[in-house]
């Protein structure tokens, strides 16, 4: 290597170039440092959060749902253990072969094609539930456990309803419909409306996972918290007894409430269904239930609306008294009909009631007395008082499809039918027909309002809800007159339900009002006639039989509201049922 005679100038150039490169390198280092500062100091929180999300997997464990009890702590809805065969795809490549093997070994009767199709769609790490596992199946499986790497028996909780008579109040649970929902939730009635209250808090298992989602270790476990128990005002024995009193071949409903605090003690509807079939996924039974023309899912106690019939009469009576349109002692002569304009309005009693005062009009259910009263009444006063006494209202007590019903007013007719009000319609409304629509629960509440003197306790199903009163006070004299009349219906001869006192003298003494709610207009004179022969009339056009009664008649504690669809006259069908139930409630002190 020869010594170079490098000129001083060229050395200078090299040194200058070296300086440029050092500067460039320094700038580059500075940019890198700035970027690191931005990542690690300025945006630290953002990346920290991302890293925690990367590292942690949270698995939710379903909580145990709160139980539902009746007022005496009898279990109406609880949770029970359920065992299922579950396949985990990630545990074995041969998972479908194992499913086939399991299907042969334990007669699961799986549809293999469908199972394979579903399995393919399913996530690797969450198991796919194949079928329920019975105890015998579990024993058989455990003996052959070594054959199955990807199949496990997993315990989960299912809802358990010991008494199907409560299904129409408690409702049922539904399977998750969205992927974000991890477990079933209430979809009907109380299970739905009390979902948050009953549900509880899911437990969380935090675990560290690697990039493939595999758990490396569990970090912490937050235990799930059981949901709150719900205590209802219902009474198990009364509910079951009332259901047994509903004629099996008739649609109908019975509601029993407490006069004292508005507690709903029982609420039945026929036909009914068993919520357990939804929990047990008995698909055939569910299909039958949903396609049943008698609509067993429909609770007639609060979703069924009917013309109240004569049960409505205390309202026009009270309006008459309040507005001084009538003197309770003054008699009206009933000749069997009353005329307005060129039209005749008939009393159910063809031959007429003769001289009728207010008490007799209610006791014997004279229509002509109320027609004459209705001629002086403004329909809006009826609507307004009805509203104060619990009709034309929706009760917010957690039930699905609870209706509002209707007591007509001029404003309503204008708005919905775009017609003005006719006086003739007031006559029909005052005997509980026409546009009037009330549910059995509303009728029970109406009588509770009358018995309580206007200020009545709002009906309730949740025992923990404090009793709240609503409505406006009635004149106590007016109340007394109405009560006397209602007592006379059952207690005095010629009362429409006097038969009750004779046939079952040992039962608790009750008051009440019969009603016959017209489905179609048949001869007016035939209504509420015990000799009323209906065989000629098609079943579905027969009148609804209505009765609202209370017991004991001198110190009312219970109200029963009964409707039997197409049952005929109120006195013949609904009244004896109500009497039995009130007697049961009274004797058992529910």
């Amino acid at each position: 290597m020869e010594k170079n005679k490098t000129s001083e100038d060229s050395i200078k150039i090299l040194n200058r170039r070296s300086f440029i490169i050092i500067i460039l390198g320094t700038i580059l280092s500075f940019i890198v440092s700035l970027r690191l500062f931005s990542l690690q100091v300025i945006n630290f929180n953002f990346y920290k959060k991302k890293s925690v999300e990367n590292k942690l997997s949270v698995k939710l464990t379903p909580p145990i749902r709160g139980d539902i009890y009746d007022s005496k702590k009898n279990l109406l809805a609880g949770s029970s253990s359920l065992y299922e065969f579950v396949v985990f795809k990630n545990l074995s490549k041969d998972h479908f072969q194992e499913v086939k093997k399991l299907n042969d070994l334990i007669k699961l009767n799986l549809n293999l094609d469908e199972t394979l199709k579903n399995l393919k769609k399913y996530n690797e790490y969450t198991g796919f539930s194949l079928s329920r596992a019975s105890w015998e199946q579990i024993v058989k499986f455990e003996k052959n456990k070594f054959l199955f790497n990807s199949i496990k028996i997993i315990e989960s909780k299912k809802r358990y309803y010991p008494y199907h008579n409560f299904s129409q109040i408690i409702g049922y649970m539904g399977q998750p419909t969205q992927s974000s929902e991890l477990y079933s939730k209430g979809v009907f009635h109380l299970e739905k409306s009390y979902e948050k209250y009953l549900r509880g808090t899911p437990g969380k298992i935090f675990s560290e996972v690697n990039s493939r989602g595999k758990t490396i270790r569990e970090i912490s476990i937050e235990k799930s918290i059981k949901g709150n128990d719900l205590n209802l005002t219902l009474d198990l024995s009364l509910q079951n007894y009332a259901q047994s009193q509903l004629p099996l071949d008739k649609k109908g409903s019975i509601v029993v409430i407490s006069v004292l605090d508005g507690s709903i003690l029982s609420m039945n509807s026929n036909p009914t269904f068993d919520a357990q079939i939804f929990e047990d996924r008995e698909n055939n039974k569910i299909k039958d239930l949903l396609s049943d023309d008698n609509k067993p899912l429909f609770n007639r106690a609060f979703s069924g609306f009917y013309p109240p019939g004569s049960v409505f009469k205390p309202i026009p009576a009270l309006v008459g008294l309040q507005n001084k349109l009538i003197n309770p002692q003054k008699e009206v002569i009933c000749k069997g009909h009353s005329s307005l304009g060129d039209r005749n309005y008939y009393c159910w009693k063809k031959e007429g009631h003769g001289k009728v005062n207010l008490k007799k009009a209610i006791k014997e259910s004279c229509d002509v007395y109320f027609y004459e009263l209705a001629k002086k009444i403004n329909i809006d006063d009826i609507a307004s008082l009805s509203g104060n006494l619990g009709l034309n209202k929706e009760y917010d007590i957690g039930l699905s499809n609870i209706g509002r019903g209707l007591v007509p007013s001029k404003k309503w007719k204008k708005a919905f039918l775009e017609e003005s009000w006719y006086q003739g319609e007031t006559l029909i409304t005052c005997i509980g027909q026409g546009y009037n629509q009330t549910s059995p629960l509303q009728l029970a509440t109406l009588y509770s309002a009358i018995l309580n003197g206007g200020k009545y306790p709002i009906p309730k199903l949740d025992k923990n809800v404090p009793t709240r009163f609503t409505g406006r006070s009635l004149n106590s004299e007016h109340r007394k007159i109405i009560l006397k009349s209602l007592n006379a219906v059952v207690q005095e001869p010629r009362g429409t339900a006097y038969k009750l006192s004779i046939s079952n003298p040992e039962f608790v003494k009750i008051g009440g009002k019969t009603g016959t709610s017209q489905v179609i207009r048949i001869k007016e004179s035939e209504r509420e006639d015990d000799k009323y022969k209906s065989k000629k009339i098609e079943e579905r056009f027969k009148d609804h039989s209505v009765f609202v009664g209370y017991a004991p008649y001198d110190k009312p504690k219970y109200i029963a509201s009964v409707i039997i669809e197409n049952g005929g006259s109120g006195s013949a069908v609904a009244a004896p049922i109500a009497h039995k139930i009130l007697d049961f409630a009274f004797k058992n002190n529910v």
Partner: protein, 367 residues
Amino acid sequence: MFKEFKSIFNLNWIYFFILLIIFWIGEINLYSAAGGSLDPWASNQLIRFLFFLPLFFLVIMLEPKFIFNFAEIFLILVLIGLITTLIFGYTGMGATRWIKIAGFNLQVSEFTKIALVIFMAKYFHKLNAEKTIGLFKSILPLVVSIIFFILVAIQPDLGTAVIILALGLVVIFYAGIKLIYPLLSLGVIISISPILWSLLKPYQQNRIQIFLNPDLDPLGKGYHIIQSKIAIGSGGLKGNGFLEGSQSSLDFLPEKETDFVFAIFSEQFGFTGSMLLISLFFIMFLIPVLKTYKLTQVFNKIILFVLSFKIFFEFLINISMTIGILPVVGVALPFMSYGGSSLLSNLIICALLINFMSINEKKRMFS
């Protein structure tokens, strides 16, 4: 061929000490990348280091004259090596980068960088140091650089190829080419970049696109960058602490022991640690560079400056990659990434630097 033994006492031990510190940080880092285990990376890398150490000192003791004389031979050797790689090479991860020599998988392209710099240093030395170098005199080194660039790029190993070309250009620039040419060629490159783009393999185009927008493919190619940024960002100012890097220990970060080893480091030791590491590499870069100002021989100056620059340059490229300011092209982090060829070639470079730093031109000229 070798210097006298006593010259070992005149070596720049400070530089060697910094090298040891960086290697040791790398060892600690590989240990934590394995989740607190020597196996499989830290122990292997240490064994390689100890195995290479005699060679390291051998290179230190080489006469600079020997290196000068054999410059062309080295270049021919790596040329043969590269061609052999292309024909007989061992294929891994879609690329043919390694050949088996005496039981070792050797990545010849790593050594190409050294041979090319030595060759060009000799070339410019021989030009007798003209005041400035014109275009004509630069053509040979440029063509050689481009040939090696192509040979490596078709393996394909774009990262190493780009480094080779960049080193060639840095030598030419440092040696004193008229400034007009680099500026001119920069303009040309920008104007023909669409053609260059079409020459890239689809996966290379893909990488650049994903670099520009990692969210295009968050679970595929963009995954590297996103995960690496999460790991680094979550380190914060002080870091999560030794062995506390959750992202790295939990396998969220692919290639964490090789190209993304900086993310492991930065997650554990944070911004503070990263700054310390940058400072160490910067000092390591400056020590030989400062020596060049005392030297007058072009060969010595180029060897010291460009090889020292090579280590710092790769360091910057690598961490720029992990923090998402450069596309992921596969450049190892010197002394910290797991891998034998990179370690060996960088040890040889450091040995050369230590060797050339001990040159006293007043006493021992090239004569």
